[in-house]
Symmetry: C2
Subunit: 372 residues, 2 copies
């Protein structure tokens, strides 16, 4: 018999959102046993839960709390109420995500419920995108490409002056470009945080958001990964551009990173060995004279994964890096090799592809042009 | 001796952000023992962690993983690496937040580390705002008031036509107003999600975001709770307005909710009994003929808390509702009574106040005007 499953989280947790289809700002308790699924709803959420939640049963937390209080002779903790509900529904063993809150698990265990954390993916079917999920990612990506264009327009109109770039009398900075991107997204109902617009040596830390003046003739990494607030689905795209003329080294690593992407596109198909593709790209870079490893006390080269699954989470299974993994047909994954060296800067190119039984389909349409 | 503390989370977790001062998109492991604090940083975050994280020691996850792999003779799981690091630092007992991931806790426990979940607040000092934190909330609130004004301008310019409101030939909807609010916030670097613009009976579900046409002469609840992406701090404000003329009932509950707020403002001071204030407001409403409880299978009246602490989380301790709690001086809390009845609609008014030793200071400046 299949174990029951439970999640205790807000809809910021993608598994919760996937299970309930409902946005809740504070953690709520969901569980499933066989074909019955339950959401324990607070007074605040009860009415909406009954109309919106994709569960077979909505339970009234206030009523259950009163009942448990009568039985215990004192006001129960929330987790104690959940434990009583589980026992009333004859749930004795639960599978939960590895991220399940320890505080809740300890109370359930003390009440005699066996709680087993399962490593991701908790819902393996989340990897395999339905048509509506693919459409949601494509819609988010289309808006993301328009947001990128909003930044590129500013760069194209900017002129080199005094070592920096100026447009309409204003200095062009990471902040200028980030703001243009995030405003464009907001106009279409997407939310982006920590959008990366990094230039020069800032690029060498792939999660540095970037700040300050943008210089001409230097690589700028633009990595946009918004969430569509209507659907909850994400897009993720990176482009590297130079306003002006790229150095020989930047041109060389740009072409190599692009070749790394093509290496992956040629090999991705349902069931492919993701780790082998990742290592293949790193080998390609090393063979071309651009190795990976610490240098001057800093990681340099290609020191992150090749990609990741994307959907309700911006990073979700399958993994696509230096750990054993296969890419199932139906997954949407990013392909985002990069090369980073202090003194040169960094280059990253990132597209999303839909894995198919015998190859992959591009989700991303934005062109790749280094010098603008 | 004080136990060591640990957090395993991304910077989406406010405790992690408070402890490390660093934005990381994926979960990372932080712990503290005495005056030493540690962040285990992946290859991707190592350089940035060394420059940005407010910890005494940054540990290289890749180097530790290699070391543990040599000892175990197989690639370790991430959590196994954390366990080895803890043992190497002679940490045998850990306090963790109740939200600490069960998957990690079970691995640490199996390695012999005692792990104890602590109920919120994990860092009680987070409740007591420093001057820079108060300034961050005030800045977020100022931007929020400008965003509210962007919506009110649209409502004021709208004209009643065919049972709806139109402006410049377009129907005014919840979506129109939400978009104006969120764009105004985005322009100032704040991110809002699920901003509530609910009208008519939608108001009766306090977490219904609202959708569709806005009607004249009907209450509209506007609840804005953005996060300032530069600081991580939140604001939270609700106003209820009617475009046109409010019904007698709406006017009556509006005045009563406003009186409920004043009841709280008169009683909030460092050490005050939050539950007593909450019950006092509900009593005030009941005495005036507007009771709380289920009616027609739906919660009606004043069925949520009076408020909540706010800071790096939009909802954080202290609690301010029907559970025992005191408000410490230095906390910023919302005061947001509401009354909701099907057939009438809802009214909620929400301000933030800073609790002081002998009273409270308003953080919110926006006026309260029902009919606009």
């Amino acid at each position: 018999m299949q174990s029951a499953q439970a999640i205790h989280a807000s809809s910021g947790d993608a598994d919760f959102l996937y299970a309930t289809g409902m946005h809740v700002p504070d953690p709520a308790f969901w569980f499933r046993k066989g074909h019955r699924s339950y959401l324990v709803a607070s007074a605040l959420e009860l009415g909406r839960a009954r109309r919106q939640a994709s569960v077979t049963h909505v339970l009234d937390e206030v009523a259950w709390t009163r009942k448990v209080e009568r039985a215990m002779g004192r006001p129960p903790r929330r987790e104690e109420v959940y434990a009583r509900i589980l026992l009333a529904k004859k749930v004795r063993a639960l599978d939960v995500p590895a991220s399940f809150p320890l505080g809740t698990a300890d109370v359930l265990r003390a009440a005699g419920v066996e709680v087993t954390p399962r490593s991701a993916p908790f819902f393996p079917q989340r990897m395999i995108k339905r048509a509506d999920e693919i459409a949601a990612v494509r819609a988010a990506q289309a808006a993301t490409e328009r947001a990128l264009e909003a930044a590129l327009v500013i760069l194209r109109e900017a002129r080199s002056r005094g070592g920096g770039l100026r447009r309409g009398g204003e200095r062009v900075t990471s902040e200028t470009l980030r703001s243009a991107i995030e405003l464009s997204l907001a106009r279409e109902g997407l939310v982006a945080q920590h959008t990366i617009v990094a230039s020069g040596d800032q690029c060498v830390d792939p999660h540095d958001c970037g700040s300050g003046p943008i210089r001409p003739n230097s690589p700028i990494i633009i990595d946009i990964f918004p969430r569509d607030t209507r659907t909850g689905y994400h897009a993720d795209m990176t482009r590297t551009v130079v306003r002006g003329t790229a150095s020989r080294e930047v041109r060389e690593i740009y072409d190599l990173v692009h070749a790394g992407q093509r290496y992956a596109f040629d090999r991705i198909r349902g069931g492919c060995d993701a780790q082998a593709i990742h290592r293949g790209i790193r080998g390609l870079f090393t063979d071309a004279g651009w190795p990976t490893g610490p240098r001057d006390g800093r990681n340099q080269g290609f020191f992150h994964g090749t990609g990741h699954g994307i959907g309700l989470d911006v990073h979700e299974p399958p993994t696509f890096g230096d750990r054993p993994s296969t890419l199932p047909a139906g997954a949407i994954v990013t392909v985002e090799p990069g090369l980073y060296y202090t003194g040169i800067g960094g280059v990253r190119l990132e597209d999303m592809v839909l894995v198919t039984p015998d190859g992959c389909e591009q989700v991303t349409a934005a062109p790749k042009i280094l010098e603008i």
